[in-house]
Symmetry: C2
Subunit: 321 residues, 2 copies
């Protein structure tokens, strides 16, 4: 993802957060330290911190205050990724070995727990009970989302609604909360906090749908993992859901693939999903959420902060990896 | 553990916390709900909530306030148990199937995460940033303790110091924090909070050493799991540590046992540890920490609350399961 202009404006503050994250994952326990640092250095788009910063611009922006919230949100995200990798038995993440691959499941488990705890510790610098309420509620929703994903795995009868509810909990809510807490930490009035929350929610939905599209159309190099990974794990995302509903033969093939039938080729299925119209359908829905995100910004003051939010949203809409 | 008299005094408040815990683990997601409830109904001694309540008695005791802290601490404890069971691949806990056995590792992972998040949510009712700071620090220490336990597993050269540092992080600190936060939630002055923290720390050390003793001398029925479980998992606790330092032949046998040599009998090793003097040594050290716990209470006001803390400590010292 090449950085757009608004990113350059935030550059020094994002570097501060990077530094804050490095400090936060530090611990005297060498294994924990190395594992968390490994995860941090694997990079990532730092989408959540960016939203925190941009939304704080609607109020009394103070990087020394907002940096705690920004790094807390990134650590919650990181913690959930490590735990996902344990569950998915993943070897690669962003092209690098996962913690469970480089160390083992036990280290991955406690690195995740450690990052969650550090996030709470970070958030407590703000001395604001509401922050913890909002943050913990988001973490609870993420757990519910993960359990839903487990329940829906290999469930070939699911509907669009099931998919949308799942990605809401898995992704959109944490981005919504990033926006809300960024604003809250800058004493933005509650009504504007709410608008920014809905903006974040819609951007998050749009973002996750695009992510699921990219799992079909991206190259292994771009994705940092093989294409079609979701399908192989029995996770039915929007393009496949659409394709399977249109083509019963394809549905049978996908089920055989997920059941480990080696005769079925992932490549062939990916091709079929691509030509089914599922990609276009998903892109259209992603765009719809993006439009809703723009709408959520209606009437907001601060024109320059608003412009940045529009830019980053449209950026997400166009991203190719 | 039969309930002593002081427990009866707290009975209605403990029931309130039990009810609070039931409410807290409730969620619309049925699997998560059932898994967390299963864990809750497996029982447990509710040691941490009891310490929270007793220490709140030193100040402006208000069950409606302190119940949030008490249930938060029990949920952190529960969450850490579920995650431990994933790591230890345990089938039984307190004589009941573990979550990972009844459902699977994935459900156990997110049930643990869910309980941690709920604990933070609970704690936020107090609207006090210091609570979150203390709580998150304790969670971080627990993770460090778990990683240390992994590192020390199958390490046959470890010293008493290593063992003590491990159980401090694994157990004692959360009990110390239970005492501290109980007091803090009742606006007890900081100097008394500190005393209660040290009391909790020492009781926690004493408690864990006894727990490790019971793993050798308890019956499967009392323990809810087979005796010698620690050793089979390569966790070297105090009685074994002592015995192995005295008897090089035994040490070799323990190593063979932990390496899966089926000729070596767990029963025979347990018997040797029992006759090595390791049990007596550990009991003596446990008693020493108990005495330190009593000392920590020196000069505290409120005679009746103090008496309860002495009673529960001595109770822990005498417990047989």
């Amino acid at each position: 993802m090449r950085l757009p202009d608004f990113y350059l404006v935030l550059k020094s503050d994002i570097e501060k957060i990077e530094h804050e994250l490095e400090k936060s994952v530090a611990t005297e326990q060498p294994v924990l330290n190395k594992a968390a640092l490994h995860l941090l250095q694997a990079g990532g788009k730092r989408i959540r911190p960016i939203f925190v910063l941009l939304c704080a611009k609607f109020g009394a922006y103070d990087i020394e205050k907002v940096k705690h919230i920004a790094s807390a949100l990134e650590m919650i995200h990181m913690g959930s990724l490590v735990h996902d990798d344990v569950i998915d038995d993943a070897e690669l993440r962003r092209g690098r070995q996962t913690i469970k691959a480089k160390w083992d499941n036990r280290v991955a488990m406690y690195t995740g727990d450690f990052l969650f705890a550090r996030a709470v510790e970070k958030a407590s610098f703000l001395q604001n009970g509401e922050v913890h309420q909002i943050l913990s509620k988001a973490m609870i929703d993420m757990c519910v989302g993960e359990i839903e994903q487990i329940r829906d795995q290999f469930n070939w009868q699911q509907h669009l609604k099931t998919y949308l509810r799942r990605i809401k909990r898995k992704t959109a809510l944490l981005i919504a909360v990033s926006c809300q807490l960024g604003a809250l930490s800058a004493d933005v009035p509650p009504s504007i906090q709410r608008q920014l929350y809905y903006y974040g929610y819609n951007v998050g939905m749009s973002f996750q749908i695009m992510d699921d599209v990219l799992d079909f159309i991206g190259t292994e190099e771009e994705l940092g993992k093989p294409a079609g990974s979701d399908l192989l794990q029995g996770n039915i995302t929007l393009p496949a859901l659409y394709a399977m509903q249109k083509d019963d033969e394809l549905k049978k093939e996908v089920i055989r693939l997920a059941n480990g039938d080696e005769v079925v080729s992932v490549r062939a299925i990916i091709e079929k999903v691509k030509t089914s119209g599922g990609i276009e359908y998903a892109k259209k829905l992603s765009k719809k959420y993006l439009d809703k995100a723009y709408d959520s910004l209606d009437g907001l003051p601060n024109r320059s902060a608003k412009k940045s939010l529009v830019t980053i949203a449209s950026y997400i809409g166009k991203r190719t990896y």
